[in-house]
Amino acid sequence: MTDFARPGDSVVEPLNRPKIVRLHPFGLDGARTGPISLATAVLLLAAWFLVTHYRLVPPLFLPTPQEVATQFLAIVEDGYAGATLWEHVSASLFRIFSAAVIAASLGIPLGLAMGLNRWAKGVFDTPIEFYWPLPPLAYLPLMIIWLGIGEVSKIVLLTLAMFAPVCLSAQAGVRALPIERVNAALSLGAGRWQLFRAIVLPSALPEILTGLRIGIGVGWSTLVAAELIAATRGIGFMIMSASHFLATDVVFVGIGIIAAFAFAFSYGMRLLEAWLVPWKGKS
């Protein structure tokens, strides 16, 4: 006796969708994480709400979400420490933007030169390798002594923090350039400048954009340090000033604003990458 079904029997319900299978994935393999992240955010907010609602932590340490929201609206309406919220935000944005522009316009050409030229690499490697692992807070006093307490010292501090990742990534971009691509261009008659413009620069562009993204992230994390220097405006200043008065809710508002801007910048850089280097990871 056999259990084999006859050919006709296998098609019992022709409308049935077959079981779709695929190879077992390893790691993330492009799986969607959005809903999980969203649920985590909701859970964290709920935990914050519950912890403060039942006074498990003194309000001085952790204000309630409602207090932070109220404080945010109050700052939007009346400003903080003699300046409107927009004045604080624009002061910080101006510093970050100026520093990013300076760091990019120095770091990208210098990084490319260091990737291409023995002398550029030899001369600039030591100072950059020496200073870039230093925490900005360590050389902050020097900035104040040398450059005073105006905008210059703040922007220079931010520039120094952003410069290294931009410069190092431009170098890495040149190093990642395959020699075959260079040889192909040379045998098509490329001159030195054409080789740089048509081959080296676009080849290094993905790395450069990654460096800029990291640089801007570092910039935001250095902002509070920069605004320690006798500032009267800026989100970092707002946080530091509020902490002196134990105004924890204002500190939370400041942190939230920095987080929101940093996230928006990072997202904007991703969009820029998708637009400028759509071939990334596809060659």
Binding site: N183, S187, G189, A190, G191, A198
Partner: protein, 267 residues
């Protein structure tokens, strides 16, 4: 005519030893011929091609193209690489026209020439596609079109079909013969496939390693026969094809003791 005379190349290996990569190689590549260099890895065939292309200077000897010494790389020697070297950010047409852009040809003319060449390699409908959208064989066709765009005096091909599957490879060989028959370009072609060498070469030079040198030279007519009759099976099943295959096979696998250069001409 491209003339290689007593070309020798010595490399310095990483451990400081000197590697004799190419030993007094001499070679002529006449108009309308396909010279195929055949040999196992390390026999100096890529070294020879790199020297002709200008990527590598010679330690001794000379290379001249139409009487002029060959120097740094230039558009008079088109190169097709084994690894595709297309620019991922440029469309297929822009890739083909890259050499024309370097030469300062206006955009409209570049586009016309690119479309013409894409027609030659059977990719006319892919002008606006990007390299990552093409298969390996199609990318190599773009590579061939790109190398032809600047109208070079010679086409140098470094195992261009080595990374392709065998079915695509056969198509590409026939395509190359078509291109050669239509453009009349002289070609220097490198391979480690005996069959490919016999099928494509008007001349096949067999090379052997340590030191890399030319040990035999065969003048063949299979490729002209194919260009005229287009019958692959007749060629592959011809007794003289099988005979040569065996002879070259034993040459390639032989321990490399002899110093004289056997020479055989088949007509």
């Amino acid at each position: 005519m491209l003339q290689v005379r007593n070309a020798s190349v010595f490399f310095s290996a990483r451990d400081g030893r000197v590697v004799h990569a190419l030993d007094r190689a001499s070679l002529d590549i006449d108009a309308n011929s396909i010279v195929v260099a055949l040999g196992a890895s390390g026999c100096g065939k890529s070294t020879l091609l790199n020297a002709i292309a200008g990527f590598l200077p010679l330690s001794e000897g000379s290379i001249t193209l139409d009487g002029q010494p060959v120097g740094s790389p230039g558009a008079d020697r088109g190169v097709v690489f084994q690894k595709d070297t297309l620019l991922p950010w440029s469309s297929v047409a822009d890739n083909v026209a890259l050499g024309l852009r370097f030469a300062g040809v206006p955009a409209r003319e570049r586009r016309e020439r690119a479309e013409e060449l894409l027609g030659l390699v059977g990719l006319e409908s892919f002008a606006d596609a990007f390299p990552h959208e093409l298969s390996g064989g199609m990318r190599q066709r773009v590579g061939i079109a790109r190398a032809l765009a600047t109208d070079p005096k010679i086409l140098l091909m470094d195992e261009p079909f080595g990374a392709l599957d065998s079915l695509t490879r056969e198509q590409m060989q026939e395509l190359l013969i078509d291109v050669w028959a239509r453009t009349g370009k002289r070609i220097f072609f490198i391979t480690h496939s005996i069959e490919e060498a016999l099928f494509l070469g008007t001349t096949v030079v067999v090379m052997s390693p340590r030191p890399g040198r030319i040990v035999a030279r065969f003048d063949l007519d299979f490729v002209r026969r194919f260009a005229a009759e287009r019958d692959v099976r007749a060629i592959l099943s011809a007794p003289e094809f099988a005979e040569l295959y065996d002879e070259i096979r034993s040459l390639v696998h032989r321990p490399h003791a002899e110093t004289d250069t056997p020479r055989k001409v088949l007509q």
